[in-house]
Amino acid sequence: MDQLLQHVVNMLVLGGTYALLGIGLTLIFGIMNVVNFTHGILYTFGAYMMFIVVHQLGLNFFLALPVAIVAGWLLGAAIEITLLRPLRGADIDTTMLVMIGAWIAMQSGALWIWGGVAKSIDNPFPEAPLVIGPVSVSWLRLFVLFAAALLIVIAYSLINLTKLGKAMRATFQDSDTAALMGVNVSWIYTSTFAIGSSLAAAAGALLGPVYVVFPQMGDLAAVKAFAIVILGGLGNITGAVIGGFILALAEELGAGYVSSGYRDAMGFLIIIAVLVFKPTGLFARAERVG
């Protein structure tokens, strides 16, 4: 029972960042219909921004997070404008392959600039974990959980309460009609990609200090993000949040009770199971797949 409680606490910490990754990707995938293979590299990028700000510039840990988010936003916007904007109307396979090309180029770029050696990021929190009864959690992880929750709330309000969010949702439902109503669909796409990318960078910046930072860290994160999106249903923000926590729970329980070697297999098994049995995702309204 104690062990289970500990797994649930770990799940909450992990699930928060997974939800961020998932929201970012479900926005891009859902609104733009782009299978975004650069999502993982944005996650890596966020973690490296954290490393640069904390270690190379020597600035405050808490300042690094907003810097990583803004940098992710800018990089996302740049990718969208240079690579995706000229390909409007191209089929999904073409944009997917362009994204794969960008991913390879950027990941190798990260390897070139920062080298393959994993780096760890110092944090200002006390070493001793917070112990409540049978459960212990490090202060850093607690911070990650709260920061992720805050960012989820911000993203949620951005999409549901602002004018930009309304335009994004309209574009998701029917881009032609949205354009006829005066929505600048092209800029909505750019904003969507930039916001999604900044969320991925935020997730990387949050998990970077928890684990270590290396150029390939985003690969698994990207596939996990796809798992979350599929679990939650395309373009479904609430689904992505719940999906993030379900994936985290599956990984925690899989690692705890099956074998830690198969921890990362959970996301893939979830993808296969969901697509085989309920291809529209667990929380989707009627939505055609394919």
Partner: protein, 347 residues
């Protein structure tokens, strides 16, 4: 016309070892050839049915592991004292088993994943490949995990007049790979020009229409997946017996990407596409190696992929073939005319 071109190309490849004596380049050609076989099998799915399998390396890796384990033998505890013990078989049996088992995996994956299309199909296939990779990494009793399977024997074949021949040298392996590539090319060419090939293209162009005239879409797709996976498995087996050491890195996603790049740059849906794209992208690292750091090579790789998609979205062969005078069969498959007769063929 195309047949002549194919034969001239084949004759050219046969002649290569006669004038190319550099062992490093020959090695590059052999590994490129193995990947071209993989790319041809991927092209069968991507170019002729429109399904992008980004887990294609799974079939390649399964072929490599099946072939290696068959020829090395294993002793795996299953439950308690119950062991599965296998004594080594000749590598050629491993090759045959690799083809059969990869094909069977293709059948299973096809059955499961052809319920979904487009991006979802892509993600299911990636997931399959990653699960297989994690099994290869963690089932240490069978696969040695990250310690790798070593000392995989070279393929021995029985030849008339020559007796048994163990293919150890680069020259012998080059001709082995070339032979398998030529047979695969021939098989794929026969398949896409058969009535199954017409069914495949029909459902790529308009699946709803194909179904409405009575084409059994799942059957056509599954058959394609089986053949495609079997050929990829053959390539994997060749890889295992040539390199003679395999570890779970054979399932690396980047290898699938390499195949995709070969297919897309050469021209998906054209038989010659993967060969042209494969030769270019297989040998590009060899050309870049003296002038660039490895990371810069990969950056170039990614940028070249993007450039090709921007400039020649349909690929090199379909863009250039008409200008060189041989247009018809290589460009795009002929548009499928759905008549009642074609429908009856598949009924």
């Amino acid at each position: 016309m195309t047949r002549t071109v194919s034969l001239i190309t084949l004759a050219f490849f046969i002649s290569v070892p006669l004038w190319l004596k550099d062992p490093y380049l020959l090695n590059a050609l052999i590994t490129t050839g193995i990947f071209i076989i993989g790319a041809m099998s991927m092209n069968l799915l991507l170019g002729f049915t429109g399904q992008l399998s980004l887990g294609h390396i799974a079939f390649f890796g399964i072929g490599a592991y099946v072939s290696a384990l068959t020829s090395l033998g294993y002793d795996v505890p299953i439950y308690g004292d119950f062991h599965i013990v296998h004594t080594p078989w000749p590598p050629i049996a491993g090759f045959a088993l690799a083809v059969v088992i990869s094909g069977f995996c293709g059948y299973l994956v096809g059955k499961l994943s052809f319920r979904v299309r487009g991006a979802y199909f892509v993600i299911v296939t990636i997931s399959f490949a990653e699960v297989v990779r994690l099994v290869a990494l963690n089932w240490v009793e069978l696969t040695q995990g990250p310690l790798a399977l070593t000392n995989i024997p070279s393929i021995t074949i029985g030849l008339p007049y020559l007796g048994y021949l163990t293919l150890k040298t680069k020259l012998q392996n080059y001709y082995l790979v070339l032979a398998v590539a030529a047979v695969s090319y021939f098989l794929i060419s026969r398949l896409v020009h058969s009535h199954y090939g017409r069914a495949m293209r029909g459902l790529m162009e308009n699946e709803t229409l194909a179904v409405s005239v009575g084409i059994d879409v799942t059957k056509a797709l599954t058959l394609t997946a089986v053949i495609s996976a079997a050929i990829a498995g053959a390539a994997g087996s060749l890889y295992a017996h040539y390199i003679r050491i395999i570890d779970p890195e054979v399932f690396a996603f980047i290898s699938t990407v390499t195949m995709v790049i070969m297919v897309v740059s050469g021209g998906k849906g054209s038989l010659a596409g993967p060969v042209v794209g494969g030769v270019i992208f297989g040998l590009l690292p060899v050309l870049l190696r003296p002038i660039m750091a490895p990371e810069a090579q990969w950056i170039t790789y990614g940028l070249v992929l993007i450039a090709i998609l921007f400039v020649l979205p349909r690929g090199i062969v379909p863009a250039l073939a008409p200008k060189l005078g041989f247009g018809r069969p290589q460009i795009r498959p002929k548009p499928v005319v759905m008549t009642e007769r074609t429908a009856e063929e598949h009924a």
